[in-house]
């Protein structure tokens, strides 16, 4: 006892200091948080006239603020500028952000870049438009099939059974075109009461949509409804129905929202449209990106949801904000 006393005493002293420091540091909390994660978002376009993307950005910004992350948004000016997006990806990867949120302009062209990001240890989240690769941790987008099914399910409330329907789609091979048509067909075929005349493609030209609609109304007098798979097709078809004097008689169900579409809904030309939730998409993409950094397991596909808009629910408070996202 006496012999070890000289060792015990300093040990106890050290213990006191240690315990005291520990208590104070514990209560005082961990000093200085780590640097916030850097999220690099490479979108399809940064054109501020693109309302959809503006809303996506504000959703991303909201999430970044809420979760204390740094958000940098990049992207080409035009959605069709695949090469531009590639170059941007190249720069972004070299800048080594903590995580990348990518909305791919092309289903395959961006794959090498995503692979490079993965090799550099940067997780990738895809937003709205994915790529043909298993690398991205999650794909945050509207479930197009499910969104299109909503139109199919809404049709019986507008149209008596037996009337035939036509599908006006935008670009053959485009992911949204394929999935939306699949959703519509799935719902209608399951219902079984509405024969589908076929699918016509507009190649994303309003005039084509208009012409196709005029042609359809002339060729198929029994035509009960037109299902238009995007905004251009919807507006073109609506205008054609108005001009053909068939507004209200041939039902029109469309996709997306614009002022034009809203006016057509008010006028009763457009009976329903399915809209996406870009704000939620941006918000959830950032949240998924942060989860990916923190290695929190999450679904590979995150559905941001869609809403069926009709004249009845057009001005409901929750839909106003979706249809008119900005005060000005």
């Amino acid at each position: 006892m006496k012999k070890i006393a000289p060792f015990v005493a300093p040990a106890i002293l050290l213990g006191i200091i240690f315990i005291g420091s520990f208590i104070i540091l514990y209560i005082a909390g961990t000093p200085a948080q780590r640097t916030p994660p850097r999220i690099a978002a490479v979108l399809k376009t940064i054109d501020s006239n693109m309302e959809f993307w503006e809303v996506v950005k504000s959703g991303m910004q909201t999430a970044a603020t809420e979760f204390s992350a740094r958000l940098e948004i990049y992207g080409p000016w035009m959605e069709s500028d695949v090469e531009g997006q590639k170059a941007i990806m190249d720069t972004v990867i070299r800048d080594r952000p903590t995580v990348i949120v990518l909305s791919a302009t092309d289903y395959t062209a961006l794959i090498p870049y995503v692979e490079r990001a993965a090799a550099a240890g940067i997780p990738v989240i895809t937003l709205d438009s994915g790529i043909d690769s298993a690398i991205p941790v999650s794909f945050v987008a509207t479930n197009s099939v499910e969104a299109a099914e909503k139109l199919g399910h809404h049709l019986p409330s507008l149209l008596e059974a037996g009337r035939s329907v036509a599908i006006i789609n935008h670009v053959p091979g485009a992911t949204t075109a394929i999935e939306r048509e699949a959703g519509v067909r799935k719902a209608l075929e399951k219902d079984g009461r509405y024969p589908i005349l076929g699918t016509w493609f507009t190649n994303n030209f309003l005039e084509n949509a208009y012409a196709i609609t005029i042609d359809l109304t002339q060729r198929y007098p029994e035509l009960g409804a037109i299902l238009a798979m995007n905004e251009v097709s919807t507006v073109g078809a609506a205008q054609a129905l108005v001009d053909a004097g068939l507004a209200g008689r041939v039902k029109l169900l469309g996709f997306d929202s614009s002022l034009e579409e809203i006016k057509f809904i008010e006028r009763g030309v457009l009976d329903a449209t399915v809209i996406q939730k870009p704000f939620a998409m941006g918000y959830l993409a950032v949240r998924a990106a942060l989860n990916a950094i923190n290695k929190i397991p999450q679904a590979r596909f995150i559905d941001t949801g869609s809403v069926l808009i009709t004249a009845d629910n057009l001005y409901l408070p929750e839909n106003q904000k979706l249809l008119f996202p900005f005060a000005e």
Partner: protein, 601 residues
């Protein structure tokens, strides 16, 4: 008791004091810092809360002023003669006349204010006038079917504020607004004749709210009295179910401030209820952000905490060392005393209890020293008196022999011898007494021994011869009394008595460099080596020889007694030394200091 043990024990006092002080100090520091920290944080939190409340009040006041303006516009329009006329006129003709005037008034009101997006008056027959003659009604959005229209009618004359909504009554115009509507009562009949609409561009409110920063993540939102969201920066998330606010609690709350009831919530609500509209402006703070410089405060407190720890521990060590040091000193002094050093003084110097203890210790040490000295003195006195007694004891034995001789001589009618012997005996005793003095001059001592030899010469006749050869110049020096007589007695009884023929005893004296040396020499039987060694041992302080040999205990004791007395009075450097040879006689040398004078030692 090994040597290290007192040291270790002492060490442990110092250490346990240091430890106790440290524990107490550290606990107090921890407690104090935690309290101070929470107080600081609480203060910052309250300040931050107050700031938030001020911002919220400011936003509410700001929005109130817009609504007040809308209200005053509506009051103004309602009372206007042209408007009244426009609504009151039954015929389309009069309506046509009043219309432009009313329209001009409305456009004047709006022109100066960009924040007012629309002022319009609707009659109950589908007619309307607005601030801009270009405005056409949206045929698919009948005013009468709008909620603001119905509510105004219900309130008959009082103004109604709608929540935020998209105003679509004007063709091709979809604008987010706050609508104030009021049924215009006919100034004559008092009946409702139309509805007035004042739209405030919602952008105004959005800008007011979004410009407010509450920490990094905090925000402001507004709900109306039904819990409908008027403004929320994350409105879509709420509708989408991705986020929720505790709206029922906010609507029900009369308080200005509360924390969200849901468990684990990080949100703090500061609420201001607006008077005119019943809207609630809600400031949302994140609890974790409330104290902005929390990390700095934490770091500062942690730093000072550690600094105080170190200071406290160093101080404890210093204080315990200061306290234990005098104790250590005292202990050392005590150890010195233990070893017999009574001259040690503990110089503690501190004016506290330990200092007092040191003083007491010093007093105790000197007391002990004095006491010891006294005891030694007493012992010495005692021994001296014992020796005196012993010295007295010699006499009866001799006296008996002498008196016995005198009796025999008297019986033999040897008168001269009896006289000589008796007078010698008388002188012997007178010198023995020597007025109680222990130290006498050598002359008296020589006289003493000569009287003794006279008596013995009478007794032993031809058997004994003697010579006194002490020089005159030595006779003034001092000596312890009765030292020669026992030596002579020894020489007679052990040396000469056993010798055949006459034995001679020579008493001589010489002055040496160190002092004086007296000697008693006999030519008796002498001693063998064994006897001599034993005698010397006896002189050196061993037990007086008890048995065997030719020396009786008495005589051995007598020689030693002489030696001791000399040493006692003159110091250890003086005393007896024997030299002897078997059949060669014995010589005893008595070393004495050369002291002259009467001084009693």
């Amino acid at each position: 008791m090994n040597r290290s043990s007192p040291d270790t024990r002492h060490h442990s006092i110092q250490v346990s004091m240091a430890l106790a002080f440290s524990i107490i100090a550290v606990s107090i520091i921890v407690g104090a810092i935690l309290i101070a920290f929470s107080l600081t944080e609480e203060t910052a939190r309250i300040a931050s809360r107050r700031y938030t409340q001020q911002l919220v009040n400011q936003v509410a006041a700001n929005i109130d002023s817009y609504i007040d303006y809308m209200d005053s516009v509506s009051v103004f329009v309602q009372a206007d003669r042209d408007v009244q006329e426009f609504l009151g006129a039954p015929s389309a003709e009069r309506r046509g006349r009043a219309g432009p005037g009313a329209s001009a008034l409305l456009s004047t009101l709006v022109r100066s204010r960009k924040d007012i997006s629309l002022v319009a008056v609707f009659d109950y027959e589908g007619g309307f006038i607005s601030d801009d003659p270009e405005h056409r009604l949206n045929p698919f959005a009948e005013p009468a079917r709008q909620s603001w229209f119905g509510m105004a009618q219900k309130e008959s004359g009082r103004s109604v504020i709608s929540s935020s909504h998209v105003q679509n009554v004007i063709l091709d115009r979809y604008i987010w607004v706050i609508s104030l509507s009021r049924e215009i009562l006919d100034s004559r009949s008092g009946l409702g004749s139309g509805v007035l609409l004042v739209d405030l561009n919602f952008d105004v409110i959005e800008r007011i709210c979004s410009s407010i920063e509450l920490g990094k993540r905090g925000y402001i939102f507004i709900v109306d009295r039904n819990g409908e969201i008027v403004y929320h920066p994350q409105q879509q998330l709420i509708y989408g179910g991705l986020k929720s606010e505790n709206i029922p609690l906010i609507v029900a709350s009369a308080d200005e401030y509360f924390t969200e009831a849901s468990e684990g919530s990080d949100l703090l609500y500061s609420i201001k209820t607006m008077g005119a509209t019943g809207w609630k402006v809600v400031g949302v703070n994140y609890r974790s952000e409330l104290v902005e410089n929390r990390d700095t405060i934490r770091r500062t407190y942690a730093f000072w905490g550690l600094a105080f720890f170190i200071i406290a521990i160093l101080l404890s060590m210093l204080v315990s060392q200061r306290i234990s040091k005098p104790i250590k000193l005292l202990r050392k002094s005590m150890q010195a005393v233990e070893r017999g050093d009574f001259d040690v003084q503990a110089d503690i110097g501190s004016a506290n209890e330990i200092g007092e203890l040191g003083k007491d210790f010093n007093i105790m040490t000197s007391e002990i020293k004095l006491l010891l000295h006294r005891i030694t003195e007493q012992q010495e006195q005692k021994r001296k008196s014992e020796l005196k007694a012993l010295q007295m004891q010699i006499n009866p034995h001799f006296l008996y022999n002498t008196l016995d001789s005198i009796i025999w001589m008297a019986e033999g009618k040897k008168q001269q011898e009896v006289i000589a012997m008796s007078s010698a005996l008388a002188r012997l005793f007178r010198l023995s007494i020597s007025r109680g003095k222990e130290v006498i001059d050598i002359a008296s001592e020589v006289e003493h021994v000569s009287n003794y030899l006279t008596i013995q010469k009478i007794r032993y006749k031809d058997k004994l011869d003697y010579r006194l050869e002490v020089p005159e110049e030595l006779k003034g020096y001092r000596t312890v009394k009765i030292i020669l007589q026992p030596l002579v007695e020894n020489a007679i009884y052990h040396g000469i008595k056993n010798k055949a023929g006459t034995g001679i005893i020579i008493i001589a004296g010489v002055k040496t460099a160190d002092g004086i040396e007296l000697s008693v020499r006999d030519d008796g039987v002498g001693m063998d080596d064994v006897q001599l060694t034993r005698l010397r041992a006896t002189l050196a302080g061993g037990e007086p020889d008890g048995g065997g040999g030719d020396y009786s205990p008495h005589s051995g004791l007598g020689v030693r007694n002489v030696d001791e007395r000399i040493k006692l009075y003159f110091g250890p450097g003086y005393g007896l030394s024997y030299e002897s040879e078997e059949d060669g006689g014995t010589i005893v040398r008595v070393r004495l200091p050369a002291i002259i004078g009467e001084s009693e030692l």
